[in-house]
Amino acid sequence: MFGKRKEKTDRLLIVEDDALLAQVLTQSFVDENFEVLNINNGLKALAAAGRFKPDVILLDLVLPGLDGFGVLKRLKEESETASIPVVVVSNLDSVADVKSAKALGAEEFFIKANSKLEKIVGFIKAIVKK
């Protein structure tokens, strides 16, 4: 379904339920030559991760289906997705939320409203270079 992997492009799975936000995020990564898949539901995201095999995942926390914490936990539990770096991008900001996300294995926690898009893009690019 996702076809042969394009040479030299990195795959990014964006799990975000706000359509407008997903659009601007996707565009900024397409501009950087990423192959981007957009999923707006937590449960569907788990299935998609298994099949799309992204190099990195951008994960929102407030999601329909299964919330971001649930998705993150299951991603890290499944052997085929456990090693994919996950970066949380959310507008929740409590110290408890950030701690939980990092404890569950998130590489980083960006608060959408407080973070520049270029900072997030830069961080993702640095992760896939490794």
């Binding site: 706000d18 407008l20 936000l21 601007v24 995020l25 565009q27 900024s28 501009d31 407030v62 959310s90 507008n91 929740l92 900001d93 409590s94 110290v95 608060i111 959408k112 409203a113 407080n114 520049k116 898009l117 270029e118």
Partner: protein, 404 residues
């Protein structure tokens, strides 16, 4: 001779009778008085009991060992009072648990604690555990009765606060949702503007850049406002106890000075620091300390013209510590000084010079300081400068034993 005998035989008994009747009369008068007093006292007692019964709060009075000697109607109902409880200690007949469900021992029961410590004890986070009935969240205030320097008894007043707790829960859920809902469209706008400004959608003219910059600035301003509103809201949820941990205050100060340094450098403002070589590790909520430093430092740098000076001092003062931030900036006009801690207030003399500012910073600082039983004050002269001083206790008041 007969006459004298007759006199003696009549006068002596007569005087006895007179004395007797007189005493009887006096005794009856006294008895009447006692009866009147007894009725008065009983009436007063009934009046006091009626008053206590019509109070919506539970009132319990105990002797110096905490054994119950009186309860009003509300207390009887809430504690499911039965006659077997007579002669027992309040801690033994009312089971308390904290918000985590952990049972409170008899010694830590507010009433027994107030007798042991000889001071008023107030708790807001306990609930009565009532087997066969639902738990009741209560506000408890226990005060010892001290006569001639000895504790002779104690009084506990408690109030059902289920409603207040429900309102607080609703407020924190609102804050939680608002942080997400308000910020999402703000993020979207911000990111699209970012894309436009970095020419991702093609080249832009000079005028277009100017308009886009303004829009972006406004967007950032709104994000800052939402952030500060959320911080202030979270503080207003009065019953939320600070999450304290051992913190290194001076480290936090250095980090916050670092955060404000880029802005200070841009304005060529020097920030000088005077702190003790050694400062004790204190128990505090690091977020509170950050907010205090952040606001005082940002204000000092923002409201001081170029090439100005900001001085930060931290010092221990008895059982408190003091944080002072002084600047030689625009100052606060005397006519507006009384409003400086109000929500959303910004003084007229800086509104035009520095358009960005939410007017929430000092309100938030004062809320935090009040909650920690500290104090915040300032001295200021227009165009000369301002010094803000925050004083806080080194050891926070224990949640379960706040002084009245």
């Amino acid at each position: 001779m007969d006459g004298a005998v007759v006199l003696i035989l009549t006068v002596i008994p007569a005087s006895f009778f007179v004395a007797f009747f007189y005493q009887a009369y006096r005794l009856r008068a006294l008895a009447r008085e006692f009866k009147k007093e007894k009725v008065n006292t009983e009436t007063q007692k009934l009046r006091v009991e009626a008053m206590l019964d019509s109070i919506g709060d539970g009132v319990v009075a105990t002797d110096k060992d905490g054994v119950v000697i009186f309860l009003n109607k509300v207390a009887e109902e809430i504690l499911a009072w039965t006659p077997e409880m007579l002669g027992k200690r309040l801690g033994d007949i009312s089971l308390l648990a904290d918000e985590n469900g952990r049972h409170i021992s008899v010694q830590k029961h507010p009433l027994h604690l107030c007798i042991a410590k000889r001071e008023k004890i107030v708790t807001k986070d306990y609930h009565f555990v009532r087997p066969g009935s639902f738990d009741l969240a209560v506000y408890i205030s226990a005060t010892p009765i001290i006569l001639n320097n000895a504790v002779v008894g104690a009084i506990e007043v408690f109030r059902d606060i289920t409603q207040e707790k429900a309102v607080d829960k609703a407020k924190s859920e609102f804050v939680y949702l608002a942080s997400h809902q308000l910020r999402t469209p703000l993020s979207t706008i911000g990111w699209y503007l970012e894309m436009l400004l970095s020419r991702d959608a093609g080249p832009i003219t000079k005028d277009q850049k100017t308009y886009l910059d303004e829009a972006y600035l406004s967007n950032r301003h709104m994000v800052e406002l939402v952030n500060e509103m959320l911080d202030a809201s979270r503080l207003e949820l009065g019953t939320l106890a600070p999450k304290t941990e051992p913190i290194k205050l001076l480290e936090i100060l250095n980090e916050e000075i670092g955060e404000v340094t880029p802005l200070a450098d841009k304005k060529q403002i020097a920030i000088k620091k005077k702190v003790p070589k050694v400062f004790p590790v204190i128990s505090a909520d690091p977020k509170h300390s950050r907010i205090i430093f952040q606001n005082l430092l940002t204000n000092a740098v923002k409201y001081t013209p170029e090439k100005g000076l900001v001085n930060v001092t931290v010092a221990v003062d008895g059982s408190n510590y003091r944080i002072a931030v002084a600047d030689n900036g625009y100052g606060i006009p005397k006519a507006e000084q009384s409003k400086i801690f109000s929500k959303l207030f910004r003084a007229d003399n800086i509104k035009d010079k520095i358009p960005s500012g939410t007017g929430l910073g000092l309100y938030t600082v004062k809320s935090i300081v009040d909650q920690l039983h500290g104090s915040v004050s300032f001295v200021s002269q227009e165009n000369k400068g301002t010094t803000f001083t925050v004083t806080l206790p080194l050891t926070p008041a224990r949640d379960a034993a706040k002084k009245g």
